[in-house]
């Protein structure tokens, strides 16, 4: 029987708790602000004997992901966590993990990239890894970060998927804020994630020997491996939904790859990922009380991107604002904007759409900024010109 306890804790503490409950065989990690307290808490669990994980301390994130790749190929359930420059340092191994189809689960505390140096929240690090073949989840709250971590194990290890999952939460805003959350009992989580029995483990001497990641040069199967990877991440969309429904039935919290607020009849909508969705919803609620038909669409899964769901949700809107907490310098907008706009391309009826780059390097997402976005959308819906495709929201 599933029992939950309610507590006040930070996002990082809850991610570490979820990791302990999922009981990885191996964790290889290197500390970096604002991820540090995840691996610190987890190391404490190992020291206390509360989880039986081989905890590998390494000299860099490059080594952390290398150790994760080795351990996962050997047949272990593997987890790690990183942030910002650490994620950037892992870049080549990120491709190796997905190319070798290793179901590693990694938490990322979303943080800006240097230069100039900055330790605060934005999504530049994750978006830099958007094409590495990892499944990418975003959490708005500490609760979602906890739930996503548990679901990630099932998604990654699903035989239709076998891909690494990056489960992300906003640096400081979600990692370090105390928030109210519910934590499931250990037995229920253990039963939900189950044991990991890989088919092609290097160290499984009960089966014919295998090797991973071999040379597949000219004339070799490299191209077909990539096609198989594409098919796997496409298949993961259905797995994410079914795992989400299953966890949702146990914990009694809703899960959707997108989550709409007021979207049923919204004329003006904000699309956001991560913690900002809460601020946008707060202002949307105020405007609804004044009779303005506004909505907020939160995207919880960025890879695979839920194109059809997003196009359906936004199809009836007059004007849409996409909030991007990262840049794609030289592109026609930030990463989220490019996806959302592309999702709407096939629709006969398309809303006006504008991109707002906001909150880079942790710039505070004040409610007045959300009000300004809805006010712009109202003007656009009334026929005002779209203020350029890309607005730097709140920049001095």
């Amino acid at each position: 029987m599933a029992t939950q306890k309610t507590l006040a804790a930070t996002g990082n503490v809850l991610v570490a708790e979820a990791m302990r409950q999922c009981a990885p065989d191996v964790m290889a990690a290197y500390p970096i602000t604002p991820q540090t307290t995840i691996v610190e808490e987890f190391a404490k669990f190992v020291a206390q004997g509360r989880v039986h994980t081989e905890y590998v301390t390494v000299e860099s994130e490059h080594s952390a992901m290398s150790a994760c790749v080795g351990a996962s190929a050997a047949g272990a359930r593997v987890m790690t966590a990183t942030s910002s420059q650490g994620l950037a340092l892992m870049w080549e191994e990120l491709h190796i993990a997905s190319g070798m189809r290793l179901p590693i689960v990694m938490a990322n505390a979303n943080r800006a990239l240097s230069a100039p140096i900055n330790i605060h929240c934005d999504h530049s690090d994750v978006m830099g890894a958007r094409d590495t073949g990892w499944i990418i989840l975003f959490a708005e709250t500490a609760q979602e970060a906890y739930d996503n971590t548990i679901m990630s194990v099932r998604i990654a290890e699903h035989p239709d998927v076998l891909l690494p999952v990056m489960t992300t939460l906003d640096g400081f805003i979600t990692t370090h804020s105390i928030d109210r959350a519910q934590v499931m009992d250990d037995e229920t989580v253990a039963a939900f994630v189950g044991d990991y029995h890989p088919d092609l483990a290097l160290l499984d001497d009960t089966k014919p020997p295998v090797s991973h990641g071999n040379f597949a040069g000219l004339g070799g199967p490299y191209f077909e491996f990539k096609k198989a990877q594409r098919n796997a991440i496409d298949r993961s969309a259905a797995v994410i939904k079914s795992v989400g429904e299953e966890w949702s039935a146990i914990c009694e919290r809703p899960f959707g790859v997108i989550e709409g607020w007021g979207m049923e009849d919204a004329e003006l909508a904000i699309v956001a990922i991560g913690s900002t969705a809460g601020n946008a919803r707060h202002v949307a609620r105020e405007l609804r009380a004044q009779g303005v038909r506004v909505g907020v669409l939160k995207v919880r899964v960025f890879r695979p991107f839920p194109f059809a769901e997003i196009a359906d949700a936004l199809g009836g809107c007059k004007a849409v604002a996409v909030l991007d907490r990262s840049e794609s310098f030289g592109a026609e907008g930030g990463p989220l904007f490019l996806e959302v706009r592309s999702a709407l391309y096939d629709r006969a009826e398309r809303p006006a759409i504008v991109d707002y780059i906001y909150g880079l390097g942790g710039a505070d997402v004040k409610l007045e900024l959300m009000r300004r976005v809805f006010s712009d959308l109202s003007d656009i819906a009334d026929g005002a010109e779209v203020p350029g495709r890309l607005v730097y929201l709140g920049a001095r």
């Binding site: 006040a8 930070t10 928030d179 109210r180 707060h282 105020e286 505070d364 409610l367």
Partner: protein, 201 residues
């Protein structure tokens, strides 16, 4: 501009110096508020380059509904200052809502603080010798009195939003045994020595 959160939300801003425990205090407050019946509690630090002695802030929100706004508090109902040398230099009263409460760890009284400058408008000033409370029970670490728990006694007295029972329970979640008992005792002393510029019971 208003921060726009509703009247039912108590917005709190913390001011301290790096190493004083403002972030710890904010965390324990969130726990105590949760145990005092608030359904929505958040506390978030505002980190710069963390270093000892540098002025830092943290934000907390308490409400009877879940809170999903995680921006920094800029128009607080309550401001808590762990070091009275910050009252003016850190603009601790900036943006305070009229009728707001400014709680200061100090040996001065409210009139002296107001006379020293930096506090304008219709703000209720509450003082408490929190450092003295920590020293009285021997809460000294590395030569510094630890005020992060005792300040919650002053907070409970000054605002009435959280009970001392909840403060004591929340402290117990962070410190156990002798250390827990000392921290609780310091919070009790601070509660007792908290006095408002205008009488507050």
């Amino acid at each position: 501009m208003t921060t726009g959160t509703s009247d039912d939300v108590h917005e709190i801003r913390w001011h301290g110096r790096g190493g004083q425990g403002a972030v710890t205090a904010a965390k324990i407050l969130a726990d105590a508020a949760f145990h005092s019946g608030f359904a929505g509690v958040t506390s978030q630090p505002s980190f710069g380059a963390e270093r000892r002695g540098a002025p830092i802030t943290a934000s907390s929100r308490l409400a009877h509904e879940p809170i999903r706004v995680l921006s920094q508090v800029t128009e607080p109902d309550i401001v808590v200052v762990l070091d009275d040398s910050l009252v003016e230099v850190a603009h601790t009263a900036a943006g305070m809502k009229p009728g707001g409460t400014l709680i200061v760890n100090t040996t001065k009284d409210a009139a002296q603080l107001v006379a020293a400058g930096g506090i304008g408008g219709a703000v209720r000033v509450v003082t408490s010798d929190v450092t003295g409370a920590a020293e009285a029970v021997g809460l000294i670490v590395g030569g510094q009195p630890m005020v992060s728990t005792a300040i919650l006694g002053a907070f409970a007295r000054a605002t009435g939003l959280i009970t001392m029972d909840a403060v004591e329970a929340a402290i117990g979640h962070v410190f156990t045994g002798t250390a827990g008992a000392k921290n609780v005792e310091a919070a009790r002393i601070a509660f007792e020595c908290t006095t408002a510029g205008g009488a507050h019971q």
